[in-house]
């Protein structure tokens, strides 16, 4: 077990990258792999508990006339199920629990990461990339299970003349292969960049004030306020984009011939 968080404060205060560092809280390895329970794992646990706590409270009431938290839970339910239905169709509702979990897992991690001293688990490519790969594996797996080899018709749109096919098919294949990369990278880069920006501005405030330029230090300080609000928006938006793109890709798996 490492020392509690405040010990890391001095270096946290001056290094914009430090917030992304992973350190073990409980060392553990199995099968030759380092599976330590790290600060990343801890904050993932926190966001999971918060999400399940919120949704569990919302679901447990089950009253015909909802109170605020129940109303919020039901809004979340209809929001995601409407998104899945409108994007991937009725058949896509099979994946509704998966998309719902994805959305709330990412949203929980992003929002928890907005709190000072918390760790943003979604600012690591290992996490976002793994989620993206899982999505693509489900898309490919279900597409082949459902349509057989017809799934690969995704790469050859109908009504395209043969000579164009020679160009189009490779482009379609490349764009398909790019999906997991862009899907994982988009979330990772957004969270990383946002948190670095917040940190840099905060460091500017400290540096300028420390150098005696208090008047100038107000500029990044005031700027921090709207950017923090923007980052909350980004936290929601990136979770939404991830879930929405998952639905779009699932639609391709269900109906490969567009």
């Amino acid at each position: 077990m490492n020392l509690p968080l405040p010990v890391f404060l001095p270096s946290i205060a001056t290094d914009p990258i430090h917030q992304f560092k992973i350190f073990p809280l409980i060392d553990w390895s199995a099968g030759g792999y380092n599976l330590a329970f790290t600060n990343s794992s801890f904050w993932m646990l926190v966001s999971t508990v918060l999400v399940l706590g919120f949704l569990g409270m919302a679901a447990s009431r089950g009253s015909l006339i909802p109170n605020r938290i129940q109303s919020l839970g039901e809004m979340s339910y209809t929001f995601i199920s409407d998104m899945v239905r409108s994007t991937a169709g009725e058949e896509g509702l099979k994946f509704f629990p998966f998309v719902f979990t994805l959305f709330f897992f990412i949203l929980g991690a992003n929002i928890v990461g907005m709190f000072p001293y918390a760790f943003t688990t979604t600012s690591h490519i290992a996490v976002t990339g793994a989620l993206a790969v899982v999505v693509i594996l489900i898309v490919v797996g279900y597409g082949i299970y459902k349509n057989g080899l017809g799934f690969f018709g995704l790469f050859a749109p109908h009504g395209v003349p043969l000579p164009v096919m020679f160009f189009l098919v490779p482009i379609e294949i490349i764009s398909f292969l790019a999906r997991p990369i862009t899907l994982g990278m988009r979330l990772f880069a957004n969270m990383l960049a946002g948190h670095i920006m917040l940190k840099l501005l905060a460091i500017f405030v400290v540096m300028l004030a420390g150098a005696g330029l208090t008047a100038v230090a107000w500029v990044p300080y005031v700027l921090l306020i709207p950017i923090t609000a923007l980052e909350f928006l980004v936290a929601f938006l990136q979770a939404y984009v991830f879930a929405l793109l998952t639905c779009v890709y699932l639609k391709d798996a269900i109906h490969p011939h567009h």
Binding site: S11, T14, D15, I17, F20, K21, I22, P24, Y33, N34, L35, A36, F37, T38, S40, S41, M44, L45, T48, V51, L52, L55, G56, A58, A59, S60, R61, G62, S63, L64, P66, Q70, G73, E74, Y77, T78, F96, P97, F98, F100, T101, F104, F105, T121, S123, H124, I125, A126, V127, A130, L131, F188, L192, M207, G210, A211, L213
Partner: protein
């Protein structure tokens, strides 16, 4: 601390960090991240798909069905009230017709009775009038006869006073002719 010293320290710090990989690309923790991600994601998936989402769905469906049932019930009650209204109108119209009938027949009965009574009274009156008239005319005739007699007697007496000799028949004739001219 001066700005320069601060920047120098920061530079020294970041120079030191260059030797370590950027945290997001540090493979040391990949296995741990993936392992705990799998644990929490799968845990969340099962908690949501087995318990929380079915509960939310159940509540939403129950609400939708209870709203639909309430709307059906409202429509049924509305139909009922419309029918009751119709029945009421029919009965009202019937009652009105019956009332009119009753009043019409009562009016007719009253009128016939009135006509009968009027007729009877008229007949009685006519009879009485006739009788009265005959009596009056008889009285008058008698009176006139008496008048003639009295006149004849008076004329005879007057003429006798005058000392003229006239037959009784001539006097009577002269009186009756004067009476007739009046």
């Amino acid at each position: 601390m001066s700005l320069l010293a601060f920047l120098a320290e920061t530079a020294a710090h970041s120079g030191e960090a260059v030797t370590a990989p950027f945290p997001a690309f540090d493979p040391t923790w990949f296995a741990s991240q993936l392992f705990w991600l799998a644990i929490f994601f799968v845990g969340m998936y099962f908690a949501l798909s087995r318990s929380i989402l079915p509960k939310l769905e159940g509540t939403l469906k129950q609400r939708a069905s209870s709203i639909a049932a309430d709307l059906d019930e409202a429509a049924r009650l509305n139909n009922q009230s419309v029918e009751a209204q119709k029945a009421l109108e029919i009965r009202l119209a019937q009652a009105r017709a019956r009332a009119r009938e009753t009043s019409d027949s009562a009016k007719a009965a009253a009128e016939t009775e009135l006509a009968q009574v009027t007729g009877r009274v008229d007949a009685e009156m006519a009879l009485k009038l006739e009788r009265a008239e005959t009596r009056i005319s008889k009285l008058r005739e008698d009176a006139m006869k008496n008048v003639e007699q009295i006149s004849v007697d008076a004329a005879e007496a007057m003429i006798a006073r005058l000392g003229v000799k006239v037959s009784k028949a001539d006097v009577k004739k002269a009186v009756s002719s004067v009476l007739e001219t009046r």
